[in-house]
């Protein structure tokens, strides 16, 4: 039996003055996953996150988090969530320690020393122990983001929701955020939105792509990176390949060849309908032409950026 989803939305819709910011979103996030939520600016990512947190109300549709309705049981939902906003704001007169203590006290009654040790532990984890008692108003952007991550995890949440967690961080900060996310997945589910596709490809196991408020893809990352255009093999060749090109194109399991000239050679992207036959036979067919030299042969690996651009641009053309 499949585990109960951490986040489940059904036709979740949000409109502002008649304009749909989110259109009938159906989403499922499974436990202990790192779920990357992608989309261009204005796609509806932050709106979705705010709906889950009860900060905005759905126009129609429904959603549950850990089985709790996001409208009726919003307090129960928020008890199990840690949230980092895109542009986190805190009370400037408080120090980092006071901010974490204030956050922790929403979740825990006490005892006081246990709350203090949780706060201390969190300050160590996010590297703010030496600045713990300084007012936040003197903090840099990176320090604020670290504090944001700290306050989002001070309650050891079952679900961590991060809205663009690495957007304002330098490479070191980004690396630390990804490390924290990977560490937290042992006990929590991480749902995060980002523009940094490289990070998504590195840590996420499931990805959803949103465009103009519509979900245009939701799949495990491997499935998404395999591409939607079937299996493609990539060859780099030298020499006149025109005769071989025609011969290969006529093979029954080859559906298309895209040829591009680059430098002294030619690059072929061969789309095939039968991966196993292609793995066994394709290179042999090409090498049968002794005038050709094959310098590279591999199954094409898509980058998330390519997939993302294809899907978003395809969706834009279609809409």
């Amino acid at each position: 039996m499949a585990p109960e989803p951490v986040i489940h939305t059904e036709k979740l819709t949000k409109s502002y003055k008649g304009v749909d910011a989110l259109k009938a979103l159906d989403l499922n996030v499974v436990p202990n996953s790192i779920f990357g939520f992608l989309g261009p600016n204005g796609a509806g990512k932050t709106t979705t996150i705010k709906l889950l947190l009860g900060l905005v109300r759905p126009t129609s549709g429904s959603a549950t988090v850990f089985g709790h309705d996001i409208v009726g049981d919003t307090i129960d939902v928020r008890r199990r969530i840690g949230y980092l906003a895109q542009d986190p704001r805190y009370y400037e007169h408080m120090s980092a320690r006071e901010t974490l203590r204030f956050t922790a006290r929403f979740f825990f009654k006490g005892p006081r020393n246990a709350i203090e040790s949780r706060v201390e532990e969190t300050l160590e984890i996010v590297g703010l122990a030496d600045k713990a008692d300084r007012p936040i108003k003197g903090f840099s952007g990176g320090e604020r983001q670290r504090l944001g991550i700290g306050q989002a995890q001070v309650n050891s949440p079952d679900l961590l929701i991060l809205d663009e967690p690495a957007a304002s961080l330098d490479p070191m900060g980004r690396r630390d955020v990804l490390a924290i996310m990977e560490r937290l997945r042992e006990h929590s589910t991480v749902f995060y939105s980002t523009h940094i596709l490289e990070d998504v490809q590195r840590v996420s196991d499931t990805v959803a792509i949103l465009n103009h408020g519509e979900l245009i893809a939701q799949a495990p990352i491997e499935e998404l990176l395999a591409g939607s255009g079937g299996v493609v093999f990539s060859l780099e060749i030298r020499g006149d390949g025109s005769a071989t090109y025609d011969r290969v194109l006529n093979l029954p399991w080859v559906s298309e060849i895209r040829s591009t000239v680059n430098g002294s050679g030619t690059s072929w992207q061969v789309s095939v309908s039968d991966q196993q036959v292609a793995e066994r036979e394709l290179l042999r067919y090409v090498l049968a032409d002794e005038s050709l030299t094959v310098t590279s042969f591999c199954r094409k690996q898509y980058q998330l950026e390519e997939v993302f651009m294809d899907l978003v641009e395809g969706n834009n053309d279609g809409s």
């Binding site: 705010k50 009860g54 928020r78 008890r79 929403f106 009654k109 532990e121």
Partner: protein
């Protein structure tokens, strides 16, 4: 992240989820910053400074009882007017400021109810402002009265007058918080509350039959009670109605704030 000592988790639901923690935060914004000291100095300077000037002016030629009445009248009327404007200015951004800065959105992403967020502001701002702009200046005023008039005000009447003054202030606090849930600018929030205050200087004369039903007459009544003057028949109606309007403002604020999106 395993804590060595087990933490007790909050489990409650309803209006007061997170209320204690919000009170702790609001309290800190007054008493763990320079805000309380600033208000203390401001109100001592404005109210007790004014009373000092009035006392010096009155002391020479008038009998002590007249000096006493003049001081109490000015203390409650003028001091009260300044304090009412003060409570509006001091709390005008309590709600809309947090909406604009994004701190409300952050706090409300935690397990805290919206009524707890709003009511903690009413409780702590009300207590802190009343303490700094009414209680402390009153204690100093008492000493000033003894110094200038050489006699003490009648304690019970004076305290009852002050309680009416405090009720009047709390109404304006509730009105300001309510305006903060509707508007997103200082001008609009304080304009609504101070506009209502100044309307009260004109409209009760134009509509005398409605006057006891509205909060405006409570302030003149406060000085009347403090001075043991003869009071209109339906004093209690103004007291009850001001309490009613205060509660209504809070309920409307809660209703509006529940619908707010962050």
């Amino acid at each position: 992240m395993a804590a060595s000592v087990p933490l007790e988790v909050h489990t409650g639901t309803g209006w007061f989820v997170g209320f204690g923690n919000m009170v702790y935060k609001e309290w800190g914004s007054w008493w763990r910053t320079r805000r309380s000291l600033t208000h203390l100095i401001l109100w001592l300077f404005v109210i007790n400074g004014l009373m000092f000037l009035v006392g010096v002016d009155e002391r020479g030629s008038n009998p002590p009882i007249d000096v006493l009445e003049e001081l109490i009248e000015v203390f409650i009327r003028a001091g009260g007017l300044f304090a009412t404007i003060g409570v509006v200015v001091a709390t005008q951004s309590a709600v809309f400021g947090e909406k604009q800065l994004g701190t409300a959105g952050w706090v409300l992403s935690k397990p805290v109810s919206r009524p707890a967020f709003l009511l903690s502001k009413f409780l702590v701002n009300g207590f802190s402002f009343v303490f700094l702009a009414v209680v402390v200046p009153t204690v100093v005023f008492y000493l000033q009265v003894i110094h200038h008039a050489l006699i003490q005000p009648e304690f019970v009447s004076f305290t009852l007058g002050l309680l009416l003054h405090i009720e009047h202030l709390l109404f304006y606090l509730a009105l300001t918080l309510m305006a903060g849930t509707f508007f997103n600018g200082r001008g609009a929030v304080s304009g609504a509350a101070i506009g209502f205050l100044f309307a009260g200087l004109i409209l009760p004369n134009a509509l005398p039959s409605l006057a006891p039903l509205l909060p405006w007459v409570l302030h003149p009544l406060a000085s009347g009670v403090a001075l043991q003057q003869e009071l209109p028949d339906r004093v209690w109606l103004s007291v009850v109605m001001t309490l009613f309007w205060t509660l209504l403002c809070l309920l409307v604020a809660l209703w509006r704030f529940e619908r707010e999106e962050f």
